[in-house]
């Protein structure tokens, strides 16, 4: 085994995450690659809607803020950036990054775009080729929601990223590649791993999973000891120093807040996984079962014991579809009889909604401060001396007109309902709902393509 180590930094965990940790990591962290995950399930629906309104939008624009701060140091230090900020429009993201690089006086930056994840225009062809797109959870047929689709994106693997890096890209802009692929791509490129080297890919997947949610590995959300974590305000994001066998030492940006310990890393290892023996990705079926952690220095944790086996024959597709709107109202009752007033106020609201011809499919009542987290598992707040009780009512409605009625019909609580009410507030913005349609596509139907944004004219840094 060679002594080569590849240093991967986790720059972003979601769209809207702070960009400062990534900038500080590039400046101070001695990393080779900055890997940035900007996408969540809901994100693609929002981005597809933006793209429909404007062909130059549809990517997460925080990547521009991030690169405005980080790109000069990336160029100076030779740090490459791999990001899925392209979202629903990777080409537009790449054009915007090109414009930014020019503005920053860095025209030599080579930008690659990885395509092939967007299935929206291929659904009919694939349907004719025998792909069913039946809902993975319910078995329902796609036709039931087809006219409401917002997007269709397949979780693609690392091959396109590897190709882009092999071509000499400094920035690789992807759409819906898996979060894991953002990390595997640089490792396969650097170590020359075969794409069927399941053990190494599996181990590296465990490493990637440990750091891909940024500050959640370095003391953020640390249930095991949040009060003892110093510097949450300047939390350093995680860095994996990956060896040729795929194992790694995890650490964070020098001089930053937070901690990297067995506690913080183990919590993140069990975050958002299903069967740890079969962690399915586009590149490998990873096995977390026997992962072990060892503290090898201050804020340094060695992670070993992960492995993997053959990747799934199918790729996961998430489609989004419009699923109505949420109507919501909130108000507060006070002593005396706060707990008795709340159901009377709710009955008032429901009766008025009924008279307004309200249509909805499901609704919910929560008492924030009492039952909004664990619902009926929590005893009713029936203390007769209760000083105040907040009532939150929300309903899923078929359209915006119905959803607006919830607030409208709650306003008369101020002068027609039980006494001792306040906090009805002003009309909240309506929230449109996007549902996820999970399904599968055989991987032979999905081929990634790499485009260099323009011919590479500058010398390698």
């Amino acid at each position: 085994m060679s002594g080569k180590v590849v240093r991967l930094g986790a720059g972003m965990a979601f769209w809207g995450d702070s960009v400062r940790p990534a900038i500080e990591m590039v400046e101070r962290g001695d990393i080779d690659y900055l890997c940035c995950d900007h996408l969540a399930e809901l994100t693609m629906s929002i981005l597809a809607k933006q793209r429909a309104a404007n062909p130059e939008r549809g990517y997460t624009r925080d990547v521009i803020d991030l690169l405005r701060g980080a790109l000069p140091a990336c160029v100076e230090k030779g740090v490459k950036v791999v990001t899925n900020a392209g979202g629903a429009n990777p080409r537009a993201a790449a054009r915007a990054i090109r414009a930014l690089a020019d503005e920053l006086g860095l025209p030599g930056v080579r930008i690659a775009v990885v395509l092939g994840d967007d299935l929206e225009d291929r659904i009919d062809d694939l349907d004719r080729a025998g792909v069913s797109f039946d809902n993975l959870d319910t078995g329902a047929e796609l036709d039931t929601v087809r006219d409401r689709l917002t997007h269709a994106a397949v979780y693609t693997g690392c091959e396109g990223i590897v190709e882009a890096l092999d071509l000499g890209a400094d920035i690789v802009v992807c759409g819906r590649v898996t979060d894991i692929a953002l990390y595997l791509g640089p490792l396969v490129h650097e170590f020359g791993w075969s794409l069927d080297d399941w053990e190494r890919l599996g181990m590296a997947t465990v490493v990637a999973h440990a750091i891909e949610c940024g500050g959640q590995a370095t003391g953020g959300l640390y249930a095991g000891g949040w009060a003892d974590v110093d510097g949450l305000e300047t939390l350093g994001y995680p860095i994996a120093e990956v060896s040729e066998d795929g194992s790694a030492v995890l650490t964070k940006t020098p001089g930053s807040g937070g901690e990297v310990s067995i506690g913080t890393v183990s919590e993140q290892l069990v975050y958002e996984i299903l069967d740890p023996g079969s962690y399915l990705t586009a590149d490998v079926t990873a096995d977390f079962t026997n992962v072990t952690l060892e503290e090898v220095g201050p804020d340094r944790v060695r992670i070993t014991g992960g492995t993997g086996r053959e990747r799934p024959a199918t790729l996961k597709v998430n489609m989004g579809y419009r699923a109505g709107f949420v109507g919501e109202a909130q108000f507060t009752y006070t002593w005396p009889d706060a707990y008795a007033k709340a159901p009377r106020g709710l009955a008032f609201l429901r009766k008025r909604l009924e008279r307004a011809g309200f249509r909805y499919t499901e609704d919910i009542v929560e008492y924030p401060g009492h039952t909004s987290m664990w619902g009926s598992r929590v005893p009713a707040p029936d203390d007769p001396d209760l000083l105040e009780l907040v009532v939150r009512y929300a309903a899923r409605c078929p359209d915006a007109t119905e959803a607006r009625k919830v607030f409208t019909e709650s306003v008369p609580l101020y002068n027609n309902g039980p006494a001792g009410v306040a906090g009805v507030g002003t009309r909240p913005p309506l929230k449109e709902l996007y549902a996820i349609w999970p399904c599968l596509v055989p991987r032979e139907h999905v081929v990634q393509r790499v485009e260099m944004l323009e011919p590479a004219t500058a010398a390698a840094p």
Binding site: A40, E41, L42, S45, D137, Q216, L221, Y222, A223, G224, G225, I262, G263, S266, E267, Q268, L269, V270, Y271, E272, I273, L274, D275, P276, G277, F288, T289, N290, V291, T292, L293, G305, G320, A323, V326, E362, D363, I364, E366, P368, S372, M373, W374, G375, S376, R377, R392, A394, A395, R396, L433, Y434, A435, I436, P438
Partner: protein
């Protein structure tokens, strides 16, 4: 004694499925929890917060359990009407569970 006396944890979402990871502080705690946190007891503890099934997985190298709760997020993060639509605090409810 509660689960919180022996372990810490974290939870999150995958569609309408919530997973709750529980990490024991030491081997003795792991053994105690291994016996106490059966799928049946965990399902009973969550009650109607979980409409589907509870499945337990083990990661012995880090003394952790992963509980996969289906039908646990009112339709999933993008659809849920719950204030905790992503299941971020579901772990804490399991940490509160009294141990026999």
């Amino acid at each position: 004694m509660r689960v919180a006396d022996l372990a810490h944890g974290r939870s999150g979402d995958k569609g309408d499925t919530c997973n709750v990871g529980i990490v024991a502080w030491d081997d003795a705690g792991y053994a105690t929890l291994r016996a106490a946190l059966t799928e049946e007891r965990v399902a009973a503890h969550y009650g109607d917060l979980v409409k589907g099934s509870v499945t337990r997985y083990e990661l012995p190298g880090i003394r952790a359990f992963n509980f996969v709760l289906t039908g646990a997020l009112d339709g999933g993060g993008t659809m849920s009407l719950r204030s905790d639509h992503l299941g971020k605090v579901m772990y804490a409810w399991l940490l509160r569970m009294e141990l026999p």
